[in-house]
């Protein structure tokens, strides 16, 4: 940072640290070194565990096989990071040096064009675009899996997909979407936009920022490898002992979660520190844009939540590799222990996903109705209340596990109390649009869609939080429909609204409006049809995660599948719009929406350090409206 602070960007020489190793490393060298590490680990461990009897190689036990595969996967991840140069800085520190100023500037990637997106680049704007492309890829893959699932469920007895493949699809759709949704707003917008919004030159720890993305990147091939190792039969919840019984594909799941948890920890610390320490002069806490508050609460909530999942996966890996018996009751462990660890992560995690999406829409609504955000304090308290309560509700996923029936009452109380801060979020949004004339651009449409979708998700959540109703609904399609209304209908709608809103700042061009509208209606109508059918199937008594169902459920499932295709087509249209507009869209003015947050005061392309001179803030960014 030191060099970057000193001089305005125009006065700086173009960095050219010719002989530095850093200039020669990129994604390609990362892949090469990663593959070498993985192969060395694989064959090294293989030779360690392989035994021969009378010159014949004995087959490996499943335990040994798991050790070898996990070893190779982690070696890939570490090797990739070595190959892309992530450890050059720490190694220099180890020997009492640091990167030279020239090298630091080189890492920031200024003037390197498209190449910098494939390098260990510390510029938060580059990392934001990397996240955006990564998220869209994951959503595309996860969505394709959802289409395959719905196609298989279009009519009863349609064996379009084999049972082993189907169960893997269910699990991989789940985990791909969960990972994508955790980073869908805080990844692209938290990295690209947020530092500009708070008036900072960069993130607090630019190298950790690059690390968080590239660590996450290494998880993608690991997760994909599950397909070639027999898939995962457990769903994304990976309950023990099914996960202990599962085949080699399970190792890919375990390694993915552990790698992803490292990435979220690094990103969470970085974003939190940036917001706490690097807000520009005058930006007191009550002047911070609400998206920044939401994103920070979200990542700060992820910091304590994910380690329990990581720990549970380490233990599952140990159970599978060394028969340690943490979770397998047949060797003295407890599946309930796993379920607790999982949901202690799992319930905060849904709010980690939800909050940034809502916060993005709260940023959008005042701009498009030209009114101040209604009750900023209620918004902050709403987010904080949800985050605080969310760590106390995990066992509502276990009402019917038989684990502790006497705790059902207390967990029902904490769960239903979440209605109160959630209600505040609704109040803020409807208070903001009350008596406004909403400018019906794409971002604003998302606000309306969110209000409807999240209302349905919220009300159905109240049934599920009630133990006697959950007696019937638990484990049914009703639950699947409920959480898709909250995670997809609310959080993804928020993120798509955010994309339409910040697209001009991230690409310099406007998102194609016609395609955006077509996509919006296809997705929203299809989505509601899809999950209306699923509510119906669940109320009728169809369990979730089934490959087949009785003829009795055929109408509700057909409705769902028809809706799903509409969502699928709509998402393809959106993808086309994003790709097409990136190079061919209408050039955007600096502030196309007339918004008052700081990111709209910088030109495109955003200069390396965002601002030549940091702005001074004298009020919050919601000073719209006439009449005092």
């Amino acid at each position: 940072m030191s060099t970057l602070d000193k001089a305005p960007i125009s006065a700086r020489p173009v960095p050219n640290p010719k002989r530095s190793l850093i200039t020669r490393l990129h994604m390609g060298t990362g892949v090469v070194v990663g593959v070498i590490f993985a192969l060395v680990a694989y064959y090294g461990l293989h030779s360690l565990y392989a035994t021969t009897t009378d010159g014949v190689v004995n087959p490996l036990s499943s335990h040994d096989n798991n050790i070898i595969l996990l070893g190779a996967m982690f070696a890939w991840s570490v090797g990739f990071l070595v190959g892309i140069g992530a450890f050059i800085g720490p190694f220099r520190w180890l020997i009492g040096k640091d990167l030279t100023d020239e090298e630091i500037l080189y890492l920031a990637g200024d003037g390197q064009g498209v190449k910098r997106y494939f390098k260990y680049c510390t510029d938060h704007k580059v990392v934001g675009i990397q996240y955006l492309v990564g998220v869209m890829t994951m959503l595309g893959v996860g969505g394709t899996m959802a289409m395959m699932i719905r196609t298989n469920l279009a009519r009863p007895g349609a064996h379009f997909i084999a049972p082993t493949v189907y169960n893997s699809l269910v699990g991989l759709h789940g985990i791909t979407m969960i990972i994508a949704m955790i980073i869908v707003a805080t990844g692209p917008f938290g990295n690209y936009i947020m530092p500009i919004m708070i008036g900072a030159y960069d993130m607090a720890f630019p190298r950790l920022n690059a690390l968080s993305w590239w660590v996450l990147f290494t998880a993608i091939p690991v997760l994909c490898s599950a397909w070639f190792l027999g898939g995962i039969p457990t769903g994304w919840t990976a309950y023990a002992p099914l996960s202990v019984q599962a085949g080699p594909g399970m190792n890919a799941f375990i390694a993915t979660i552990i790698i992803f948890a490292v990435s979220t920890a690094v990103a969470g610390m970085n974003i939190t520190t940036t917001v706490v320490a690097m807000r520009t002069k005058g930006m007191k806490w009550n002047r911070v844009p609400i998206f920044v508050i939401g994103a920070t609460i979200s990542v700060a909530l992820a910091i304590p939540a994910f380690p329990t999942f990581m720990l549970a996966m380490v233990q599952t890996g140990l159970d599978r590799s060394f028969n340690t018996g943490f979770f397998d009751a047949n060797v003295g462990g407890s599946g309930w222990l796993y379920a607790n660890l999982f949901w202690i992560m799992g319930h905060p995690e849904v709010y980690v996903i939800l909050i940034p999406g809502v916060a993005a829409l709260m940023e959008i609504a005042p701009v498009f109705v030209r009114k101040p955000l209604f009750s900023y304090n209620a918004a902050v308290l709403g987010f904080a209340g949800i985050a605080g309560l969310s760590v106390l509700v995990w066992a509502h996923h276990m009402y019917l596990a038989g684990w502790a029936p006497s705790l059902n009452g207390p967990f029902m109380v904490t769960t239903e109390m979440i209605s109160i801060p959630t209600g505040l979020l609704f109040l803020v949004l409807i208070g903001t649009i009350w008596r406004g004339k909403p400018w019906l651009k794409l971002p604003m449409l998302s606000v309306f869609a969110f209000i409807w979708d999240f209302l349905i998700g919220g009300i159905t959540g109240i049934y599920l939080s009630d133990v006697p109703a959950d007696n019937y609904l638990h484990g049914s399609m009703f639950v699947t429909a409920h959480f898709h209304f909250t995670l997809m209908g609310a959080a993804l709608t928020g993120a798509i609204g955010g994309l339409a809103y910040w697209y001009p700042k991230m690409t310099g061009r406007m998102l194609n409006e016609r395609a955006g509208y077509i996509s919006f209606w296809l997705v929203q109508i299809g989505f509601n049809v899809l999950f209306f059918g699923m509510f119906m199937a669940g109320a009728e008594g169809q369990p979730r995660r089934v490959i087949d169902y009785a003829a009795f459920y055929k109408n509700s499932n057909l409705v769902s599948t028809i809706g799903a295709y509409s969502v699928g087509i709509g998402m393809i249209v959106l993808l086309w719009a994003v790709i097409h507009s990136w190079t061919k869209g209408k050039i955007s003015p600096m502030n196309p929406w007339g918004a008052k947050t700081l990111e709209w005061t910088v030109p495109y392309p955003v200069p390396l350090t965002n601002f030549d001179e940091l702005p001074i803030i004298t009020s919050d960014p919601y000073g719209y409206g006439k009449g005092k």
């Binding site: 009630d466 409206g625 006439k626």
Partner: protein, 266 residues
């Protein structure tokens, strides 16, 4: 690049307070009120007709309570949904199109009474839901305890991918779940492999089957008729097909069935 004066955002008066008269404007209120009535009505109708139509035959008190909670929670949610959706729709109907932003709206930063009312309202709503749920949970627990003396026991074993029912007092083991009407029943549920979840659909109860531990649920079938038993926890390859049938039958029919299975009546 602009200097910092251009970045600086205009100062607003520090008082965020708004008089109620400013917050409320007559034609907005009238339209919103109409929409409120319409939306609330729609939700009440949805609750009244959809769930009873969709959900299976009620064959126990637990099933009755699950269904009535879904219906009644829909009713008490209806006015909240009505407020949110009527305000949103009213605003939507005032929309503005075009390439320039609309004129500024009223600068309403907050409204103390509205925020307070909303918060107290949602608190009351939440308390109603909580108290209702707790009373229901308690009455089910009390019923289970009092019924336990006269109950028959069924040991349920889940295995990949089969349900097995053992009636220890009758000395029979089957794969169909038959129960006498009006007699309390205790299910002792366990698994021999991975987790399953025992779900006799029309009885409205459910509990996980775990290896090495026994979980217990109770019910009293209140009506004669067929029941389905499903697995509600992903348990591997043929999870979807881990289902069986059964019936709630009259005591005479049940005893006849037990004898036919080679058991003895108590």
């Amino acid at each position: 690049m602009a200097n910092h004066d251009e970045h600086a955002i205009e100062e607003l008066p520090p008082t965020p307070g708004e008089r109620a008269t400013h917050f409320i404007k007559r034609n907005d209120v009238a339209r919103t009120a109409l929409l409120f009535v319409a939306y609330t009505g729609i939700f009440i109708i949805l609750g009244k007709y959809f769930y009873p139509k969709w959900m299976p035959t009620i064959m126990s008190k637990e099933m009755k309570s699950a269904e009535s909670i879904m219906i009644w929670f829909t009713y008490i949610s209806a006015p909240i949904a009505g407020i949110v959706l009527s305000v949103a729709t009213n605003s939507f109907m005032n929309f503005h199109r075009g390439d320039t932003p609309p004129p500024d709206g009223p600068a309403i930063r907050t409204n103390g009474p509205v925020v307070a009312l909303w918060t107290i309202g949602s608190l009351i709503f939440t308390l109603v839901a909580i108290v209702w749920g707790l009373l229901e949970v308690n009455s089910q627990a009390v019923a289970a305890a009092t019924d336990a003396k006269s109950a028959i026991t069924v040991e349920v074993t889940g295995s990949q991918w089969l349900w097995t029912f053992n009636y220890p007092a009758q000395g029979i083991e089957t794969h169909d779940l038959n129960l006498p009407v009006g007699v309390p029943v205790v299910f002792d549920v366990k698994s021999v492999d991975v987790n399953h979840s025992f779900w006799p659909v029309q009885l409205g109860i459910k509990v996980d089957a775990n290896a090495q531990v026994t979980t217990v649920i109770h019910t009293t079938p209140t009506m004669v008729g067929p029941i389905e038993v499903k697995c509600a926890e992903l348990c591997g390859l043929y999870h979807a097909y881990m289902e069986t049938n059964g019936a709630v039958m009259s005591k005479t029919d049940f005893n006849a069935w037990v004898i036919a299975q080679g058991g003895h009546t108590a």
